[in-house]
Symmetry: C2
Subunit: 293 residues, 2 copies
């Protein structure tokens, strides 16, 4: 199959960046892959694993000559990366990203894109709790959704390129406004991660005898939370700061619902609990039916 992009530059080579490189190569999506990472250790790993045709340290250098530049760094690095990449994009080139908060991504990236080049923000809904270039794999995006949030003024040809790249790597494409994306992700991803982090810390603050037992007996439910809470701390710090409003709104809703459960337990309201648990079980069936389990 013909490549959908000539040169693909990937800036930030963690789990997602390195999985994109692997998937793009395996699917023949890109003719040439340029890898960029600020860390010398990461660059050595990229070379050792032969994940790219060229490995550079500077985002400006990665951008020069690329048809698509994909930013895969934590979101706190976006503005800095965009300042280096934006002016060096070639005419007609597309700047895209994989960040978990789309309004903040656009705020940081859009101002630096030179005239004649285009910004097409995107967000693949896929991941694991592991980090770093060694942790990626080519199948990470297979059958997973990629949400693309182009702006009204973006030419169709530019967003079509990003669509085609993700489709070739096995993803299904969805379109959303950045605002809507950020609310959906607040409840499906950001608040669940926040709670997982919190509950793991609550457990670790217990008296020390209890603490060892929490780990020993984690198969009883806790381990699912620790898995979620093993995700990249800097990436998640950036997500919560970037999606503050939607996260606080959804957290407020969650608080109200926890209070209902708490009250039902305190007053021995078994019927209320059973009704609420049965309802939650139905949602699980929806997830299984949508083949996202």
């Amino acid at each position: 199959m013909k490549p959908v992009v000539g040169t693909l530059a990937i800036v930030g080579f963690g789990l997602i960046g390195s999985s994109v490189a692997r998937a793009a190569r395996k699917s023949g999506a890109a003719r040439r892959i340029v890898a960029c990472d600020a860390s010398a250790a990461a660059r050595r790993a990229i070379k050792r694993l032969r994940l790219a045709d060229r490995v550079v340290a500077s985002p400006a250098e990665a951008a020069a000559g690329a048809d698509i530049v994909m930013v895969c760094t934590p979101m706190s690095a976006y503005a800095r990366v965009a300042r280096a990449v934006g002016p060096n994009l070639k005419p007609g080139a597309v700047l895209t990203d994989v960040g978990s908060v789309k309004r903040a991504a656009i705020e940081d990236l859009a101002p630096h894109v030179r005239k004649g080049a285009y910004l097409v923000p995107a967000h693949p809904i896929a991941g694991t709790e592991n980090s770093g270039p060694e942790s990626g794999f080519a199948e990470l995006f297979t059958d997973r959704w990629c949400i693309v949030t182009p702006m009204a003024r973006t030419p169709k040809a530019a967003s079509a390129k990003v669509d085609a790249l993700w489709k070739r790597m096995g993803s299904r494409i969805a379109r959303m406004t950045p605002q809507h994306h950020d609310r959906v992700l607040a409840i499906t991803s950001h608040v669940p991660h926040l709670i997982a982090y919190t509950i793991v810390n609550t457990a670790s603050d217990l008296e020390s005898t209890l603490r060892t037992e929490v780990i020993r007996y984690s198969a009883s439910g806790f381990r699912d939370f620790t898995r979620v809470a093993a995700s990249h701390p800097v990436m998640w710090r950036d997500i919560f700061l970037a999606n503050k409003d939607a996260v606080l709104e959804m957290l407020g809703r969650l608080y109200e619902d926890i209070a209902l459960m708490q009250k039902a337990i305190r007053h021995d309201e078994g019927d209320t609990l059973e009704r609420l648990f049965t309802k939650a079980r139905r949602i699980r069936r929806g997830v299984v039916a949508a083949r996202q389990d």
Copy 2:
């Protein structure tokens, strides 16, 4: 290998009961297995799957002649089962259970055990989100902990029988007081399940456009919570009512920690968030190191 028990009667044939039957047979732990379930559909499934040597509807009948009677019903049925089983235990027989709250189990079971028979409460830390006799499997307990909480007056020989049965089925044995068990499980299992149920319901109460998207994009963290929230509603209703004090205490601690996170997000305190997330990640490493992942 010689069986560790002559006749093992299992009352309540859901995920755990049917897994015990499979594991006991596969490991040669019991010479004879008697299955008891109140549901005619479950009894038909037990016969079809050939999970027991004998299948009965009445707990009293199951108890007669058994060396160990294991109660595997939801906890709300304990008192009723014990009233039928207790007086029919043969001299020297052991009544045990698999319930998730040990103080409440003892309160419901102990008064009905006839003189000369013994109660040895236990709790295997293993499970899946599935229910019913079809969902069990023989390897469910392999390398998992089984917490045994005998009372001070229980003869060593009685608790040793329960230990030996679980060891043969692949478990590791831990001893605890019922009180301590209930606090450990409140934080490792009960509160995580409560939060998972709640967060899934919060999502399902969203505006309907958001709701379908929550399912579609569940790969971003939410699906782990829906898996936990798919567990048996009646079993969990009983657990929360039975372990009310410890659950409310641990939920109170969790509240304080969520408030800290919330405040850090509201005030853009990135350093605080990163520190809390890094700490949670270390706990995950402990879980992986303890091979409970």
